[in-house]
Every structure is written in structure tokens, then in C-alpha cells.
Amino acid sequence: MQTLSGKAPFDQAETGRTFTGVGVSPGRIIGSVLMMPHAVREPGVGERLADGTSAEEASAALRAAAKAVQTNLTARSVGASGAGREVLEATALMANDPMLVKAAVKLIINGASAERAIWDAAASVAEMLHNLGGYMAERATDVLDVRGRIVAELRGVPAPGIPYSDTPFILVGEDLAPADTATLDPSKVLALVTSSGGPQSHTAIIARALGLPAVVAALGVDGLTDGARVFVDGAAGTILVNPGGAEVALAEAWETTTAALALFDGTGRLADGHLVPLLSNVGGAADAVKAAAAGAEGVGLLRTEFCFLERETEPTIAEQVAAYRGVFDAFPGKKVVVRTLDAGADKPLPFLTDASEPNPALGVRGYRTDFTSPGVLERQLQSIAQAAEDTQAQVWVMAPMIATAEEAEHFAGLCAAAGLKTPGVMVEVPSAALTAASILQHVDFVSLGTNDLTQYAMAADRQLGTLAALNTPWQPAVLHLIRLTVAGSIDEGNNKPVGVCGEAAADPALAVVLVGLGVSTLSMTARALSSVAAVLASVTLPEARQLAGLALTAHSATDARRLVREKLPILNTLGL
């Protein structure tokens, strides 16, 4: 594929130009582009004041830049809310911080350029915060963010991070960092397009959570310019410059489709009537209320750590009971699967996890924190049992990161001691998939976490864009692990349920394959319920099994996805 040359002004000659990437969140939309500015380039090491610039002038320029950044961040904080507002307010104060500015001015007096001075001064402060550890260490990133903004201001180039605009736009950039997601305003961003990243990148995850059409790994889009009018198809993974009447019609049809797709009648079923309960993944009571309104048949995954992510200390039993009960109350008479704290790796909790592990994804995380911090899990189970009293929800409990039948047995024992009747475990470590029959002798159900199962089966870090092609649940190896988990349940003999609660369940084509593999329930973000339901309703169980067979024997993940999608014409009709 060709790339657009540098910053050439956008013109009519580009009309019809197409970029192709990986579609990670469906939707067809037309809008104008705003480019995400590049990360700020580091000033030369030891860069000195330019000839003819005095230290006084450079110091004054630095003070003015710091003040300008502070004013800009303060103005933006006024329009933000919640956590985003607090981040902006704190970084605004840091931008013009006397300690930071004084340290930089001192370096300027010694002959450094203003850019280099603020660069080094902020690096020292960030290192100091980093060494303090814990909460302070996390703030080190904010200092570096502020540094980039001040340098950009001194150079007269756009500030790094998500651009700010009053009118909605299509955001195009290299990739989004986790910090960018805090300042992404879904009422202003119409779609996301990135030149790198993969299906599990932060860009993809935030797009799916917000329901924004998104295409990642679209080579060449870096060459687009602000104001370009493009058509984005988040299912096909294409971007078309200066769209014509056909695309306008497609975008309009998508608007109608989303309105129709917003309706899910609350019963997941195939064309032949085979029932596939569709549940929702939630992080707390607010999510649960939304999921219930979207028709979810229960909660397939309550991520309890999301109730306590900002906590330095273990939540009390009373706090936990209140948090869980809010979710149970949203689903009277329905199933709610509570996952015990899944701390570690990308979700550290200061009271449970050790941030200094060299390899946190393979470290003490999930159920394993019970080895290092005994008591926390028992108190959590006690809290869940207490919250379950006087509610009408059917409360199931499961442990994350179970690797052996022995661990499953231990967890089931803890559940029984707490008075919880339906224990289960997550299958996300390949060893658990391979020994599912033994594991199911001790617990009543298993739930497949396809994100972690994929990263462990393929030995590919979820966060690494360069390994995106390996990191997809369409990998035939991952599908075989799912098949083996279902086979384990059949071998065990009591028809114990095998569910899926990973991102895979939210992909309507993959959902058909999962059902064909024998998965009994699917749990997903509430936004995906209606599209998954619509596609499942278009196939019979024998058809789903046939598609599962095609995917299992495919030569690659790409082939598996293509072969299955070709047999599901409804995907194209709906633009999914």
C-alpha cells in the first residue's frame, strides 16, 4: 500500500483513496478528521541556549509557556467531569508548579535551552515521584505529560494527546495510550482510526466500551490531514477519503440499523429455537442497571476489582456488601456470576499485588493472591454471601486464574464454608482448559476468559501491538482449547455449564462459532447484546456447528474469521 506524502495539503485528487486496516468495533460513519499530534520529540541532549537568546528571555518564554499550558488545562477541566476532571485539575497545577519552573530556570541560567531545561527538570521530578512508589509513582506520568505540553508550547506545535474541538470529529493517530482514554470525550469523537495497534490494543478496548466505530493497524493513515472528510467502516476495517453517495447511504443505513439493533428482546436464541442465554459483563451497580435495561439475561461476569481499583486498603465487608447488592438488585430472579478479585498484571491493587514482579502476567494475580494475602478472599466470599441474603438474584461465584483441579477444589471449599452454593472457576490458563473434566468434578460451572486464554495460549502479551496478529481469539489453537473445555464438561457427565465471558463473546461472528463449539452462555459488554442476538438468530445449531468446524480446521486466524464471515451474510447486511 502507498502512503500519502508528508503534510501535503489535502485535495480532491485523494478522492476515493482507501486505507485498509483491522476493523475492531463496527459502525459506518462519515466525518472530518482531526489528527492526533505526534509525541513530542526530545530536545537534543545538552542543547544550549540559541545564539542571541539571553537566559532572561528563555526563562520568560518558559514561564509564559508553563502558564499557557496551565490555563489551557484548567479551561478543559471545566468542561470535564468525574475522574477526567480531577486528572486535568491536578496536571494544570503541575504545569506551572513553582518547584518545577524554578528548577528549569536554574538550568537555563547555566546555559541550557528552555526546552532542554524543562525536559531535564521534569525528568528529575518524575524520578523522585517514581522512587516514592505507590500513588506518587503513578503521578510521575502526569509530570512527563505536562513536560511534553510545555515543550510543544515553546515550539509552537500542537500539544500531544487527544486534540480538543467543539465539533465532533474522527480521531486519527498512531495509537491511544491508556492515559488518553481518560480525556477521550465520546460526545466529541465519532470514530477512532489508528495506524498501529491490534484487536486487543487500548484503542480497540476503549472503542468497544464506548460503542465507537474503530479501525486499527491501518497503514498510511498517518498521512491524512486535519479536516479531511472520510468514511469509516469499523466492521470491514476500511477508511475511504471523500466518500460519495454510496457511502452516504451506507452511513445513513447504519444509523437506522443501530436504532433497530438497540432492541434486544431479552432472550438469546438460534433460528431453530436453541436457547443461548446472553448475559452482560459489569463493573458495578451503574453498569448493571444499564445492562438490565439493555435486556441482559443476567450478569456473566461481575468484575469486583472494578469496585475497588482506586483503593489503597482492603474494602470493609460493609463496603463490599453494598457494592455487590447494588448489582444483585438490578437482576431479581436472574443469574449473577461474581468473580472474586482479579488483581495483578494490568489491574494492580496496592493491598494485594506486588508491583515489582518481573513478569506480572505470569505472577501472583487473580486467585493466586490468596497464597500471599490469605484472608482477603475469605472475607470477600463472606461479603458476597451476606449481600446475596435478601436478594432474589441467583448468585454464582467464580475464581480467576485457576490452573489446577486442586486449586478449584480449594476454592469450592472456601465457597462452601462461606455458605455460597454455586462455585465455579474461570478457564483462562491453558492448563485449566486441558484438565476441565477434573476441575468440573469440584465446581459447578466454568467460564472461559478468552482474552487471557489467548495471551497464554499464544505466549503473546495482550498489550503489545506488534503481536496483534497472534493475539486474537480466532486463533484455531484458542478455539481448540475452548472445544477441549466443552469436551471436559461432557466427560464429567453432569452437563455442567461452560460459558464465555471474554471479548470473544461480543464478536457476533465468533459468538456463532462459540455456540457451535458447545458453549452454553455468552457474556459481553451490554452494547454488544443486540448485535450478537441478531446474528445468532440467523443460524441453526447444526449450522453453528458446521461453522465451528470450519474455524477449528482453518490454516490461520485470518482464514478462520474470513471463512466464517463468508457464511454469515447477515453480517454484511447489518454492517457488523
Binding site: 491536578a90 508548579d97 513553582p98 489503597e312
Partner: protein, 92 residues
Amino acid sequence: MSERTAVIASRVGLHARPAGIFVAAVGELPIEVTIAMAGEPADDAMDASSILSIMSLGASNGDTVVLRADGEGADDALDSLVKILETDLDAE
């Protein structure tokens, strides 16, 4: 030189939002104010209008800090700052 001590009331200690509120209040004052942990020499005191200094102080809930200032209105100014530190800002 006026001097006051204050016990940090915020549950999370003097960082995050409470630190921001305190620094903003110091920034409103026409005088320079320093802050140090109780028992530390006055020479090591830090600029109370700097959020980064305040954060590096690492004052936790229940810790005692010393505020110092010179000049007109210093006493009243310090009294108002003590009031802020001794309120659980995180709970509001």
C-alpha cells in the same frame, strides 16, 4: 515569622485532590508560605504553593506538618490554611 502546626485530616493524606485544594488556596495568598513535616528543620521546608513539593512531602492521614510565613496578614493566612488541612477534604 509566624508558625502553625496542623494534623492532616484527609483519609488519603496530603495528595491527590486534597493537595490540589490546599495548593490552590496557597496560590491565592499574597505571601510565601512554607511547609515541613513536624520535627524537620525549617531550612528543609518546602514551597507550599508547589503541588509537586507537597506530594514529595508524603504527609499521611494523622501526620503533623508545620506551616511558616512572614509578612502582613501571615497569622490570618496560616489560620485559614490550617483549617483546610484539618478538614477531611476527600470526604467532601
